[in-house]
Symmetry: C2
Subunit: 222 residues, 2 copies
């Protein structure tokens, strides 16, 4: 085994330790936590803002936001009146379970019913780092093209649900996106995955996704 | 200095060694080589296919394609009758200079006048790994939103040019993209950067970009 692989394993093992701590913390507090993974610009922040607007009268959301630089996203989330903790990874391409552990302790003081983690915009690296989340959710926008599930299989294979976002673009004819092919390709990687097709920007089909989230919050074992 | 940082430096130093080898090889063969960096779905492959169509009668292009999995992109490039070498990174989030070194030796046998490297779809990691390229070029699509230069500064700061792709989407009203703000933000990171605004899908403004590429090929020191 090469030195590089050994070091990678060590980093992943340390991450796994914190991930297990986070999992226990979330279970103890009875709060579901969803880790949102996508390319930059697939619409994570817009989706979260639109989701918070629809959830906040029945379920109290809070958000942990990961970015390489800036706190633009946390500020946007706070505009929708949900508490948000920004983590700047200072160049790193994914959130670590240790960073999330620190953020969780801060966010618990706000007593949320549901927590979203908005990971760094990257369809590759975040899928390899467990954060102790209840489930991963991958977001793919119709502007990204048909071939993304086959080309970036890790995140789709490891997610409980996928959101196909920006379906309002399909009507413009300006994107080359065969939604049936994409869904078939996603199911080849993960036959149990739940697929939502929506537009956070136009609001189309947002209710189906939000109803599912409310059920996830209700169904948690006490 | 922590062990993690030491190992990262070692990996980067080894990469740097191969990058210098590649740089020498390219200079010796008098071939410009552009490393294309973007999120998944910003349109690298469509841009390359459209560029090859327009260049191939005057300048002979060849492409090195990096992907985590599949050879979908190399197959698409070959349809436009340019030679393409596919590198599968087997999970890794960026191309390394060593991988490119192997691919360059194969691609030189095709005697190209210009080489494009289509990096793994990732706006974060590829910008940290020099490949010995003549220049990096970052591609950003109008579907990705206004805030990407501020949130992912590394790739913009280190590029010679940036392509704002999918400008045909601006007319649909379905994307929230302030092109002037984005250009200002890019220039704050890199005041000498050249900015192209085009649509590889509709063909709009492709000529300006292709004329620039032809000039780059002509201006190389012999």
């Amino acid at each position: 085994m090469s030195k590089k692989i050994k070091v990678e394993e060590k980093i992943l093992n340390l991450n796994e330790k914190y991930a297990r701590l986070n999992e226990k913390l979330l279970k103890k507090n009875n709060i579901p936590c969803f880790n949102l993974i996508s390319s930059p610009g697939a619409g994570k922040t817009t989706l979260l803002s639109a989701t918070i607007q629809r959830l906040k009268n029945t379920v109290k959301p809070a958000v942990i936001v990961g970015d390489i630089a800036t706190d633009i996203d946390a500020e946007k989330i706070r505009l929708s009146k949900a508490p948000a903790v920004q983590i700047n990874t200072d160049g790193a391409c994914h959130l670590s379970a240790k960073q999330v552990n620190v953020a969780l302790k801060r966010i618990f003081t706000k007593k949320p019913d549901i927590i979203f983690i908005e990971n760094v915009g990257n369809l590759v690296c975040p899928s390899a780092f467990q954060l102790g989340e209840t489930a991963k959710i991958t977001i793919l926008s119709t502007a990204e093209g048909n071939d993304k599930p086959a080309k970036y299989p890790g995140s789709f294979a490891g997610s409980k649900a996928v959101i196909i976002n920006k379906i309002d673009l399909l009507k413009t004819g300006a994107v080359d996106f065969d939604i049936q092919k994409v869904k078939d390709d996603i199911r080849k990687l993960n036959q149990d995955i739940i697929i939502f097709e929506l537009s956070a920007f136009s609001g189309e089909n947002m209710e189906t996704w939000c109803d599912w989230l409310k059920k996830q919050a209700d169904q948690l074992p006490v």
